[in-house]
Symmetry: C2
Subunit: 201 residues, 2 copies
DNA sequence: TGTACATCAGTGAACGCGCGTTCACTGATGTAC
DNA sequence: TGTACATCAGTGAACGCGCGTTCACTGATGTAC
């Protein structure tokens, strides 16, 4: 049964969304094409009308998931507080696609790897704007390290079976990044203002 | 054909070694039982004489791979220099099992997850001994953050398609950890001694 | 020490299963008049 | 605006394939005498 052009666009969005969520939750390999199509409300046969292969979908769904990060903040401490929250740790399906899929992407085709690399570069640029440091080079250096720290901490917090250890990893890393933000970034800001910013979600 | 008891022990070691290497290189799911047995010089049929299932092997091979980290150093800067070297980045099969498999392990059975959690706790304790800080709590906090940073940086450096960006991530994070080690950890050590230690492999 | 035989590690064919992908078919859409 | 029909998105059975796992068999090991 043919379907309207709007419905086609809507279906395409549904497939990419479902794939993005399932991939982040269970990895590229463990999720099947049939499962994604079912989650999108379709049957598996129609898949190849939208994508040329599963690898094609992986690259496109990854790009979509990496672009739609829900984490937003104007300062490093606020960003870290949100990124390293228990809520983000526990919601892999809708959380950071880098933390969920960077390790998986290393073993994927070039199409997916290049998408991940572009997103990584963009994220470093974005973090450079709120990173501590006087020169542009210092800010970028700090952004690289801060991003590594956040992604690493989220992966390790998720990897830990033990909720106490997992919470410790998140809390320690949050505190560290907040301190970074304080000491190096905003030496001139008044104390009250700083505390407000750092405490905000 | 029956085989001597020593040969059985040797074969077991070969299977665990091959599995550890292949898993680190390509992930748990992409590697097949037959492939592992072939890499160990055996045929796939014999597998279930050694392990009850692939999941059983995953847990045991992960424990083995996590225990046999080749990275050793007496100070943080030296450890970071080794851990964040291009050589370690490029040799996934023999490198850090945490960086290679932590994200994969999140989606594995409890047996593997508990192995990873134990290794994580041990590594934090180990790093606490060489971490900067005055109190034990400060040292442990720093160890948690430093480990998150190293694992995150290695994963991101591997994820990057672009060798320039990849090298930048390694170099920036190495420099950062060396600075951490300098500023907070060894304020009392004579300058010459510090430089020697930090430069060592 | 030498011999006879029970044990059991390793082999490879075979199992059921689910994967990614293909394809003939269906029927609503959207265009031509 | 209404009607006729070509288009093509979606369906579900079917494809070949490779997976994890099983099992009857083989023949070297290692024990009992």
């Amino acid at each position: 049964m043919k379907v309207s052009r709007e419905q086609v666009a809507e279906n395409r969005r549904m497939i990419l969304d479902a794939a993005g969520r399932l991939f982040r939750e269970r990895g590229f390999e463990a999720v099947t094409v049939a499962e994604i199509m079912q989650a999108a409300g379709l049957t598996h046969g129609g898949f190849y009308g939208y994508f040329t292969s599963k690898d094609d979908l992986i690259a496109q769904a990854l790009a979509e998931a990496l672009a739609n990060s829900s984490i937003r903040a104007d300062d490093l401490a606020g960003y870290a507080a949100s990124y390293l929250s228990p809520g983000h740790r526990d919601d892999r399906a809708c959380g950071c696609a880098t933390a969920a899929l960077a390790a998986d992407t290393i073993r994927q085709k070039d199409s997916a790897r290049s998408v991940m690399t572009q997103a990584l570069e963009q994220q470093i640029e974005r973090l450079s704007r709120i990173a501590p440091g006087r020169t542009a080079a210092q800010k970028r250096n700090a952004a690289v390290v801060n991003w590594s720290t956040m992604v690493g901490a989220l992966i390790l917090a998720r990897a830990s079976d033990d909720p106490v250890l997992s919470d410790e990893i998140l809390a320690d890393t949050r505190a560290w990044l907040a301190a970074q933000s304080e000491v190096q970034g905003k030496v001139r800001a008044p104390r009250k203002a700083r505390e407000k910013t750092a405490g905000a979600r």
